[in-house]
Amino acid sequence: MLTILVDGLAYGMLLFVLACGLSVTLGVMNFINLAHGAFAMAGGYVAVVLVNGYGVPFLLALPLAALAAGLLGIALEQTLYVHVYRRTHLDQVLFSIGLVFIAMAVVDYTQGSQQQFLNLPAFLKVRLDLGVVSVGAYRLLIIVVCGALALALQAILARTRFGARLRASVDDPIAARGLGINVNAIFAITFGVGSALAGLGGALGAEILGLDPSFPLKFMVYFLIVVTAGGAAGMTGPFLAAILLGVADVAGKYYFPSIGAFIIYTLVIALLVWRPNGLFAAASGR
């Protein structure tokens, strides 16, 4: 029971790190980016190639994977995404699905279609006894790293000048522009950081998420759930949504293995019908 809770917690925090970039994309530019998972996949594969192929230590591979995904994100943002921000949602959907298909084909072509397994260092394979519950060191690492990132993100958003500008841009992009905030630059940076975080999440979670070319499609719904259920305002909503989703998914698959997947989709549908604007969205304007 507790083990499931801890596993769910690790999974949920991972989902948060993977998806938090998306919530900014959606919030600032009202852009539906279905290709967010491709950056996570990129990070995951970079880590696999580095660790398995070149023997780079796992903990060093993590920041490198994040860097690679972040650079890829900025490059694509500057060359392609900028053309699509003001388009209709249909165009955004077509465009980002296209990117997903390309990413899947490229990975399939270069890495093969089989699932990749990361060679975890020995110290991450042990189980630690914490008295009430025993936790795998790997999951503990995930919880610690993702928790630290969540706190850091919250602090950046709440305390720094950049965070204030970002929040202003999310709240009201038009007004923010009017105040002389360079929304485009803010967005490019956040897009890069969001991609980097996704890449880090992809690398960190490669073992529990399962890395293969269909990764971006498989997790598309999960990311979207985190973002829509959490609402685009702030980090707390998506964080709570991610944890809930993680625990629900792990518990569902454990207790009801035959219908585990239904639970999630049914929850999504019910949730969106119940609160179309997000689980934790302020009931404003009504």
Partner: protein, 326 residues
């Protein structure tokens, strides 16, 4: 302008244009002159019908759907199952499959009506994923990952037995496509269709002039779902096989591309798109069969980055001139 002028202006959209006759004549000619491409023609007709149904949802009613395959797949499995269970009359099978998919459309329309484009995307996507998961799990019914086999389909109207060259199949699918196209055209040009287009164009004002938005959208969504179901049923009947592929995400994405290539909102878009898409697939698959997906993605991205209006603006302008010039 006079009363007669106003009457004619209102009647203009439903008047048949020469180009429309030419289009259907060209299809008839393709069937008559290219017997060796019957199988491809059959696939194209089915894809065209599927895209036509998406056009009712996306082009006419303005609902962005990422899970239209749910209805196509349900139709295919329904038609396959009743064929396997001994009800082999194909037309009856189509009707039942259409009803089943229409019922699913009706049930899920209430979910789709709420919220923004994003929530609609997610709900439609989730519905199709639930359907895929169901088909995957109910192996006794669907055959799961092995696919539904042993489907028996009788002769059309008790006379035309399906042959291995796909001659009967292509004729059957094309005739059904034509009939359902007529239905869609009739719907769209009725006051009902005008109301739905008004809702897509401006829901706020539609409500302010008293149009019951929810009821109209539920109706068009259910009808479109039924048509998608019939398209799926045609595939099941003419290939006598159904696999999980009919419910897969890429099918929903592909039909979106098909429709967008041909242009949304004028009903021929899905059909023109299906022809272009199948020709393209034929060419590119020969090149690199397993990486078709890459080219598909590239087309998606290029289309949007360059701008759909710019790529397809020219043919559509020609079409409008012909349509509006009378």
């Amino acid at each position: 302008m006079t009363y007669e002028g106003a009457r004619q202006a209102l009647a203009a959209p439903r008047r048949w244009q020469t180009m429309e006759f030419d289009f259907w004549l060209a299809i008839l000619a393709a069937y008559a002159l290219l017997p060796e491409r019957s199988l491809l023609l059959n696939e194209t007709a089915i894809l065209g019908l599927f895209a036509l149904s998406l056009d009712l949802v996306l082009g006419i009613a303005g609902i962005v759907s990422l899970g239209h395959a749910a209805f196509f797949g349900l139709g295919a499995y329904t038609a396959g199952l009743i064929g396997k269970l001994g009800l082999t009359e194909p037309i009856l099978g189509l009707l039942i499959a259409g009803l089943a998919a229409g019922a699913l459309g009706f049930a899920t329309s209430f979910l789709v009506l709420r919220g923004s484009d994003l929530t609609r995307l997610m709900v439609t996507l989730s519905v199709s994923l639930v359907m895929l998961e169901l088909a995957n799990r109910l192996t006794t019914l669907t055959g799961g990952a092995d696919g539904l086999q042993g489907i028996v389909i009788g002769a059309v109207l008790g006379t035309f037995e399906f042959d291995m060259f796909g001659r009967v199949a292509a004729a059957y699918s094309l005739i059904i496509l034509f009939l359902l196209f007529l239905l869609a055209r009739w719907l769209v040009n009725a006051p009902f269709g005008l109301a739905v287009q008004a809702i897509a164009s401006n829901p706020l004002r539609s409500a302010a002039i008293g149009i019951p938005i929810t009821r109209r959208l539920i109706a068009i969504y259910s009808i479109a779902a039924a048509i998608a179901g019939i398209a799926g049923a045609l595939l099941a009947q003419t290939t006598q096989f159904v696999s999980l592929d009919v419910l897969a995400f890429h099918r929903s994405a592909e039909v979106m591309l098909v429709l967008v290539i041909g242009g949304t909102g004028y009903l021929y878009g899905g059909l023109v798109g299906a022809v272009l898409f199948k020709l393209l697939q034929d060419q590119l698959s020969d090149l690199t069969p397993q990486y078709w997906q890459f080219w598909l993605g590239l087309i998606f991205v290029a289309l949007v980055v360059i701008g759909r209006e710019r790529v397809f603006g020219f043919p559509q302008a020609v079409w409008r001139r012909i349509r509006g010039g009378v």
